[in-house]
Symmetry: C2
Subunit: 103 residues, 2 copies
DNA sequence: TTCAACAGTTCAATATTCCCGAACTATTAA
DNA sequence: TTAATAGTTCGGGAATATTGAACTGTTGAA
């Protein structure tokens, strides 16, 4: 069973966080997660077409950037945004990014 | 002589802008440019060690992301931040990023 | 005028990173 | 048990990034 490692936010450098957000698919996932309580990997996917290994890698990257945490629930993995922690680490950043996702 | 193309900001997608910022060297350059009127390429460099071809590529990428504009002045190229235009395109984004550069 | 030095770009080869199919692990339901 | 489901990991090809070398254009000096 996969046991995930979630970084402490103070160990996440800004450029890693920006890199995680600098991809349309990941950005779409973050936007989705921002408006829900928690989503399985496949439900977090931005579209049907994306292969699941790619999806898994995107989520791993979001985890490494401190943006999401993943918990196992049965055979699903539930992903949630680490909103408060991320906001404390990078004040205003996620708000600014999300506010610009629809343009 | 190099004649640069500067994109219209409305043609710059968010992920390209984030990608441009998601690199320590480029981020450092943007931060520098944010606190000056205009800098030659070599003066904009974040450190001595970076090769000039690499530097040139970083600046090209920043140009493509609508973050800077470059004008020839003698044998130098003067780079300036397209602050107002960028802010109009992505409100609050650059502020949020710059506010987090020193952590 | 040349000529040399300078600021930066472009090119091409190497190095790095990313993507995704295939194989695998773990969990649940039958 | 077995089959189906949900997702991870691995490995190789595709795409990007880095950088030395050669080049373009500009300036100042002889």
């Amino acid at each position: 069973m996969p046991r995930f490692t979630h970084p402490r936010l103070e160990d996440v450098p800004l450029d890693l966080a920006l890199h995680a957000l600098a991809d349309p698919n990941r950005l779409g996932m973050v936007a989705r997660l921002a408006s829900t309580e928690g989503l399985s990997c496949s439900d977090a996917a931005p579209c049907e077409a994306i292969p699941k290994s790619t999806l898994s890698n995107h989520l791993k990257l979001l985890r490494a950037a401190g943006l999401i945490e993943t918990a196992q629930a049965g055979r699903e993995m539930i992903n949630t945004l680490r909103r408060d922690e991320f906001d404390r680490r990078f004040p205003g950043l996620l708000d600014a990014v999300l506010a610009n996702t629809s343009s």
